[in-house]
């Protein structure tokens, strides 16, 4: 589904990603862990199409498309979803209006008709219930005045409504208390299916107690330096990132 090959990316001549390789197949849940500044969020932003980065080398294939050539909205329409680390507040645009615009734009991309208001309301109500979101939130402006936890729940709610093929969760656990974390994880787990893949980007192992990954990758200084099963996350939690760095140093 997603193949990242030798991806190099820079910001203002500073190289952040230094050759990332990663393959994700349908049905799999991958976790990327790493210390601050390792390039985790850069990778997420590049996948979603943020234009602040210069790709200097490498390629990304998503379902047969050259992902890096697509506009952000085309990536979304093809089934890529990024849950933002810092969801943006948009005063003046209601959640409902925003979501309907998103759904209809995606439908248009696939040559389909607009969703009917009735179908839309049914869909939105069902998914809001899943995320334990008060439906009054739907008529409020996008993320405006939401608490940190509400914003993250809103991200997963949007994901549930938009039904992507590949979901990238960028530090979705940051700023969440344990109850909110469980709700978010439950939302993500409900959406697990053989057709869908998930990439969880996180600093801490905590989220992975609830969203259990098939594969864990450790990103250090712009490269994936170690990959393994879910037990790797536990090891990292126990020993910290230093043990990886020491391993690397020993090899060098």
């Amino acid at each position: 589904m997603l193949t990242i090959s030798n991806l190099h990316a820079s910001v203002e001549d500073k190289e952040i990603l230094k050759g990332v390789n990663l393959t994700i197949n349908p049905g799999e849940v991958h976790a990327i862990m790493g210390p601050n500044g390792s390039g985790k969020s850069t990778l997420a932003s590049i996948l979603a199409g943020k234009s602040d980065y210069e790709i200097t080398e490498g390629s990304v294939d998503f379902l047969g498309h050259d992902l890096l050539e697509l506009d952000p909205e085309e990536r979304a329409a093809e089934g890529l979803f990024l849950a933002f680390q810092y969801p943006v507040e948009i005063p003046g645009v209601t959640n409902t209006y925003f979501l309907r615009s998103a759904i209809n734009s995606i439908r248009k991309h696939h040559g389909e008709d607009d969703i009917t208001p009735k179908e839309f309301m049914a869909l939105v109500k069902e998914k809001a219930a899943l995320m334990e979101l008060d439906s009054s939130m739907l008529s409020r402006s996008v993320n405006e005045g939401f608490s940190g936890g509400e914003k993250k729940r809103n991200e997963i709610f949007q994901m549930a409504v938009l039904d992507p093929k590949l979901a990238v969760l960028d530090e979705t656990d940051s700023g969440l208390d344990i109850d909110a974390l469980k709700i978010v994880a439950n939302g993500v787990n409900t959406l697990r299916s053989p057709e869908r893949a998930t990439l969880v980007i996180t600093h801490y192992q905590r989220l992975l107690d609830y969203i259990v990954p098939d594969f864990v990758h450790v990103l250090v200084d712009g490269r994936i330096v170690k990959s393994g099963g879910k037990e790797l996350a536990l090891e990292l939690e126990e020993k910290g990132y230093d043990f990886i760095k020491e391993e690397l140093a020993a090899k060098a």
Binding site: D71, E73, R75, V93, F98, S105, S141
Partner: protein, 441 residues
């Protein structure tokens, strides 16, 4: 022979000779000398040119080039109001057509004791003294600091003062419904001088909408609104101007605030070729709040020129001002925000923001904050931004699949809708948001 410095013909001076005697039989007798004095003031000033500082960016040449005249006797039916955005909202309504009271589009009966909502021409005797006390007495900057304001159109309105929309609420009363003062124009080159007087007694509360719209044709509308807020009175005042594209609109609003009163203004301008609004708040009591919000959309060759002035004369008051404009094509926006903090007005907290989005390289915005502070223990801030859309919001929308052009349109809408969202009256808010959406389409 005398020669005038002002070489433009002034139809409003020329027409006055004929109309003077007709006007003198309108309203109470004490208005006669006031009108005459106002006429003299106006005649001396004449129409402004762009050399006049307060009209630097706004040309009103059309006023001397077109033959604007009164359009009395025009007939407007309720069904004609259906296409107007706020034409048929649920409210106590006082309707005026071309400046003339129109009972056929008005509904303001069954009022509680001590309350009056209606035209001056139907004012019960018991309210005559309070009207005399305030009418034409609020709309003045005499005795206030600074001398740069231009009151010639206040004088023009007063010179031609006919009927008046009057709202009087007694002490501690709340009028449950929206009060809608509806000024419509019907006909070509119609000159009208709407006048509004709003008096809220101590601790009274009301929502008043003044709407200005065109049923057909176009006009020069020159309204003056006077508002008196007694201690602890609270007024939500929505001013919605959406006159036809060929119209000219030059308005002046004056508010007097006594202690602990709250004045919230939403000044919305979508219409007219030239729209110029002055809003002046005289904050003359402690612990007042003054909220001035405004959403403006200019397209084609529209000019939207807003001048605000807040006089903080007493200590411990707050004012918050948010003026936003969206300008497309060749539209021009002007914002001039004056804040005076008088020597006595310690602990004043005044915040002014002016933001504009320019959607084409040929649209322009001129913004001028003007703060004059004579007290030493105050917080006054102002900020102006003129620019494009927020990149982070644009990316967020696109990352959810919304096409770039649509995402841009949505954010433009949201920029102005943020102001409209502050309107407390839900029906009015929803209708104005829908209208904003159409205007931007």
């Amino acid at each position: 022979m005398m020669t005038s410095m002002n070489t433009m013909a002034d139809p409003f001076v020329e027409a006055y000779g004929e109309l003077r005697s007709l006007l003198s039989i309108e309203g109470p007798e004490w208005l006669v000398p006031i009108r005459e004095k106002a006429f003299q003031t106006y005649a001396l000033a004449g129409l402004p040119t762009r050399k006049d500082e307060e009209f630097k960016y706004t040309s009103l040449r059309e006023l001397s080039e077109q033959n604007f005249r009164f359009g009395f006797g025009a007939n407007v039916l309720r069904e004609d109001l259906v296409p107007l955005t706020l034409g048929t909202i649920e409210s106590a309504t006082v309707g005026f057509v071309n400046g003339q009271y129109a009972p056929e589009i008005s509904t303001h009966d069954h009022l509680p004791k001590g309350t009056f909502i209606g035209p001056l021409s139907e004012l019960p005797e018991e309210f005559a003294p309070i009207v005399e006390k305030h009418l034409t007495k609020i709309a003045t900057l005499e005795g206030k600091l600074g001398s740069t304001n231009d009151e010639r159109f206040v004088a023009l309105n007063t010179a031609y003062l006919g009927d008046v929309a009057v709202v009087i609420l007694p002490k501690s009363s709340t009028f449950g419904k929206t009060i809608h003062l509806q000024y419509v124009v019907s006909g070509e080159s119609v000159f009208s001088t709407p006048r509004t007087l709003i008096i809220l007694g101590e601790n009274a509360e009301a929502t008043v909408v003044e709407s200005f719209a065109t049923v057909d044709g176009h006009g020069f509308t020159c309204p003056v609104t006077e508002i008196e807020l007694a201690p602890s009175a609270r007024l939500e005042h929505i001013r919605y101007q959406d006159e036809s594209a060929a119209s000219l609109h030059v308005s002046n609003t004056f508010v007097n605030q006594a202690g602990k009163s709250v004045y919230t203004s939403s000044n919305v301008n979508f219409g007219s070729q030239v729209a110029r609004n002055d809003i002046n708040a005289w904050v003359d009591g402690e612990y007042c709040e003054t909220w001035l919000n405004s959403a403006n959309v200019g397209t084609g060759n529209q000019v939207i020129d807003n001048h605000t002035r807040i006089d903080h004369a007493k200590p411990n008051c707050q004012s918050f001002e948010v003026y936003k404009s969206i300008l497309k094509d060749h539209a021009e926006g002007v914002f001039n925000g004056k804040i005076f903090v008088y020597e006595d007005a310690q602990k004043t907290d005044a915040k002014q923001t002016n933001q504009a989005i320019l959607l084409s390289p040929t649209a322009t915005m001129n913004t001028k904050p003007q703060l004059e502070i004579f007290a030493d223990d105050v917080k006054c801030t102002h900020g102006a931004t003129i620019g494009q859309l927020r990149e982070d919001a644009l990316f967020y929308l696109r990352a959810r699949g919304v096409e770039k052009s649509k995402a841009q349109a949505l954010l433009v809408y949201a920029f102005a809708a943020e102001v409209l969202e502050k309107i407390g009256e839900e029906t009015v808010r929803d209708l104005l948001e829908a209208r904003l959406f159409d205007k931007l389409a």
